[in-house]
């Protein structure tokens, strides 16, 4: 079983991203479970959301403490919360940032038994008209990143889910996910 954690801000769509990612994995034949951080959410406040993906039936119904993958929708979150908390040894973290990966690692002292990747999802989102540089909507771009990093969902399944369920600018959101999928260097 693979466990995934998204870090976002309330209103950024981290919870709906997890549901869409689970849906895409499900379409590829996987068992899935997605859930938001349980509780009350304030716009702009740091939030988390989670996905479980497995080839077998998923019976565990409790929080995810040790994710295999962590996706951070905004580097600014890393000054507020420990986005590396509990990450599994050998796990993977991908951060939306304009920095290159070495600068990112130095800036946040990312030294541990996990791999770190950097992606400029903001630039991709804004290019497709999803928010502004100040308030970009990066959840669908980060979904493309998640599909690429985990290999759990095909980009076609993911784009199809986004086309069906994004609340607005569906085609643009799907394109952003495809561009981000292609842009992530592993």
């Amino acid at each position: 079983m693979i466990e995934i954690r998204f870090h976002g801000r309330g209103g950024q769509g981290a919870a709906s991203a997890c549901k869409m990612f689970a849906d895409a994995c499900f379409r590829g034949g996987k068992s899935v479970q997605a859930f938001p951080m349980f509780g009350v959410e304030r716009r702009g406040a740091p939030v988390q959301s989670f996905v479980r993906v497995s080839d077998d039936e998923i019976r565990a119904r409790h929080n995810i403490e040790n994710p295999d993958y962590v996706f951070v929708l905004s580097e600014t979150l890393m000054n507020k919360v420990d986005c590396t908390a509990g990450i599994k040894p050998g796990g993977v973290m991908v951060v939306n940032t304009a920095k290159d990966v070495e600068t990112l690692k130095q800036a946040h002292d990312l030294e541990g038994d996990y791999k770190v990747h950097a992606i400029n999802a903001t630039e991709i989102a804004v290019k497709h008209g999803l928010g502004s540089m100040a308030t970009p909507i990066v959840n669908t771009a980060m979904l493309g990143v998640a599909a690429r990093a985990t290999g759990l969902a095909s980009i076609d399944d993911l784009a199809a889910v986004i086309e069906e369920s994004a609340p607005a600018k569906r085609a643009e959101n799907a394109k952003a996910s495809r561009d981000a999928f292609a842009a992530l260097e592993l």
Partner: protein, 385 residues
């Protein structure tokens, strides 16, 4: 067709395919999504029901009572303080023998204010005359809406299907939403034996009843609940033939050769399967027993599965203050008359949404296997000694 749905939306679609005709509900966290989706389905014409906006949960149940008494299939949903506010009307619904179905999201009672899960809201409504189904997956949630209408309408008693706040209500997973025509073949249109249409000659029910008759009416309610237990088993078999899914009232997992059993309900019954597998790997011969019903309580099935075991453990996500966990009481009580009674541990875990993990269940399994109970309450994962 399978869709990835939250527990809440599984309730909404369940009400739609069960062709609820009147829905009266008031929103409360974490149930709000149920009501929002039903109102959208009604507004879009996808669901052919009258959606009644009300000013409180008490009014929601009152409106359902009116609709059901008039011969309609009535549905509502609530949680915690909302369920508590309904209390008077809950009794009214069952005493008036109205087959209303309600979904309750298990949320702990305030104060202190809380929105996270435990069972005390529904447990404390145990004696209102409502059937109570505790669900472990979103598929079971949707299917239980259908099943509970089928049973409720035959025995003329209301039914509550219950799911854990957030752990099911806000968790998305694949759910088969059956074709409405297939559901029609299992659940025919509700035909009330008595409705309040004066044209049918039926007067209202509820006039002053003195001691010469009230008592017997209570016996009839009890008999209806007894009948409901057999019917739930029977209807589940029919359901399986149509939909290929089954939900035993007492469901064993790896119990065949088990020396020890752990009794669970709700989502804990799902996580417990992973804990049982882990315990088996450590050589502990344990099985999990999911108890789906609190009312009617499945006494014969509990007695059957408990037979010949070395020791039992019961995990309660609730407490009856001044006594102990409620499933613990119920299970002990129904085993009292057995010739060979096993020792039973009473665990209380996960109050107010504290996480119940595979590891915490594994710890309770270990204690059940290794030691005799020392008290009626064994607090699990508590910060107080």
């Amino acid at each position: 067709m399978k869709k990835v749905l939250t527990g809440n939306h599984s309730v909404s679609f369940g009400a739609m395919v069960a062709r609820a005709e009147v829905v009266a509900a008031y929103p409360i966290t974490p149930q709000t999504q149920i009501v929002e989706r039903i109102s959208e389905l009604c507004a879009d014409g996808e669901m052919d029901a009258r959606f009644v906006k009300v000013e409180s949960e008490h009014s929601a149940m009152a409106a359902c009572i009116g609709a059901s008494a008039a011969g309609s299939r009535a549905f509502t949903a609530t949680s915690a303080q909302g369920l508590a506010l309904m209390d008077e009307m809950l009794h009214w619904a069952s005493h008036a023998r109205l087959p209303i179905v309600m979904s309750n999201i298990n949320r702990a009672m305030g104060p202190p204010w809380t929105i996270w899960t435990d069972q005390n809201d529904s447990i404390s409504r145990r004696d209102t005359g409502w059937m109570q189904f505790y669900c472990s997956s979103n598929q079971e949630v949707l299917d239980t809406v259908i099943q509970s209408f089928k049973v409720a309408e035959q025995v003329k008693m209301p039914a509550m299907l219950i799911l854990d706040a957030f752990v099911l209500s806000h968790t998305s997973e694949p759910v088969d939403v059956p074709d409405i025509e297939l559901v029609d073949s299992y659940l025919p249109k509700y035909q009330a034996e008595f409705d309040m249409d004066p044209a049918h000659g039926h007067p209202a029910y509820g006039a002053l009843t003195n001691e010469h008759w009230y008592y017997e009416l209570q016996i009839k309610m009890q008999r209806a609940m007894d009948e409901a237990l057999d019917l739930i088993v029977e209807e589940d078999k029919k359901f399986e033939k149509v939909f290929g899914r089954s939900y035993p009232v007492v469901e064993g997992y790896r119990t065949e050769d088990a020396d020890y059993l752990i009794f669970t309900s709700g989502t804990v019954a799902s996580t417990a399967k992973d804990a049982v597998d882990a315990a088996r790997e450590q050589g502990i011969k344990v099985g999990n027993v999911k108890v789906r019903l609190l009312r009617p309580f499945p006494k014969p099935q509990i007695r059957e599965i408990a037979k010949g075991r070395k020791r039992l453990g019961v995990i309660d996500r609730n407490i009856s203050y001044g006594s102990e966990g409620v499933f613990f009481t119920e299970i002990k009580s129904c085993l009292y008359g057995e010739a060979d009674r096993p020792e039973i541990h009473g665990f209380i875990a996960g109050l107010g949404g504290r996480d119940i993990t595979v590891d915490s269940i594994l710890e309770m399994i270990r204690q059940t296997a290794e030691q005799s109970p020392e008290s009626d309450i064994n607090w699990q994962g508590a910060k107080l000694a």
